[in-house]
Symmetry: C2
Subunit: 219 residues, 2 copies
């Protein structure tokens, strides 16, 4: 994901919070302060993503949110398939925020006949029906939540059937053609990075305390 797009998500989260607080208009300076960038950066990002607004009196929050909405949902076709109904797949299939943001998981798939009997809002099919469902719902985006050992094989199958975007939860680097967009969500990496920074900070504080201790000792 490009850093500018990440910042757009950050601005949006800020705008949503401001809106909940009853605020109607916002300056790029406010957004900059809230997200830790410069007002210039905010305006540059808005211009990159073609988000325009009346700068003199500030931007209307509703207006900005609507424009951001259009960025991601220009086509009304946000049909998604989810492959792998293990613990993570099941949780993702039930994640209500996707629907609230107009992203519809139209079908889920698993090789395990037992999992095909799961009864939730969304049907669970066998993998043999993958192509049929992708074609019928004109699906372009898939969520991959299969074990790492089968991730590459399933990714190959998905792209063969016309999928061009994959959110991959399996902790493997998928090999795909250049046209296919992959977004890896590696839960271990996310947790390990926090652990890394926490330890680093503890060590830094430890050294600082040691320094203070030496200063106090006055040989």
């Amino acid at each position: 994901m490009k850093n500018s797009l990440k910042r757009i998500f950050l601005y949006r989260a800020c705008l949503v919070r401001l809106k909940l607080m009853g605020v109607e208009k916002v300056f790029s300076l406010t957004l900059a302060n809230e997200t830790g960038v410069t007002p210039d950066q905010v305006r540059k990002d808005f211009s990159e993503f073609n988000i325009r607004g009346n700068k003199r009196g500030g931007y209307y929050i509703n207006d900005l949110l609507e424009k951001m909405e259009k960025l991601f949902h220009a086509n009304k076709d946000n049909n998604i398939v989810l492959i792998g109904m293990g613990n993570m797949g099941l949780a993702l299939s039930k994640y209500s925020k996707f629907v609230q943001r107009n992203m519809n998981i139209v079908a889920t798939f698993d090789i395990d006949p037992f999992k095909q009997k799961i009864r939730s809002g969304i049907p669970v099919y066998s993998m043999s029906r993958l192509q049929e469902i992708i074609d019928r719902f004109r699906v372009k985006v898939a969520i991959l939540a299969v074990p790492e050992i089968s991730a590459q094989e399933v990714a190959d199958e998905l792209t063969r059937y016309g999928i061009t975007g994959i959110v991959n939860f399996a902790p493997v680097l998928l090999k795909v053609t250049q046209e296919v967009i992959i977004n890896n969500v590696n839960l271990c990496d996310e947790l390990e990075s926090v652990i890394y920074y926490v330890h680093k900070q503890m060590n830094a504080n430890g050294s600082k305390n040691l320094e203070l201790l030496y200063k106090d000792m006055k040989y």
Copy 2:
């Protein structure tokens, strides 16, 4: 997460794959090619994170992996608490990769007495026991999987009890003091970014096809 740390994760994923393929030694050039950066960048990142190896004949993969391991698990104390046992929390509590990578969720918490009856490998406690458990297991890192409406309140409580790192799955920007490290995993953003790029590419291809069409038409 810093981009250099992200690349370390990427190198590690490559190394794991190479190791599975039976490769024993690797050059920075190989890692660079596999991850789309320059060999200089690889060496610079290694040096930033104090990862050293015999450069002349290449790095030993096992050696690199061991050094990366130490980055994240220098302290053996990787005890973690998980707050919120909804669908996502439950899936995370069962995520076996965490244990495989020496990250132990020692306890989970939920305000719902019904969820406190969930029987899996890890106990589910009421929130009233949060401080006691954090103290007993000397926990520094928490996974936050509560609804967005209670995320800030729970984050405040966690930091009050000494938590300094949070992986936050609630789609809100948490306000915390500077010492607290937050890593946001926003599932909607991850999915929307893929949708954005897929649509962008489809539109680009659409224009290209239109151009070709016009060329062919030869007014």
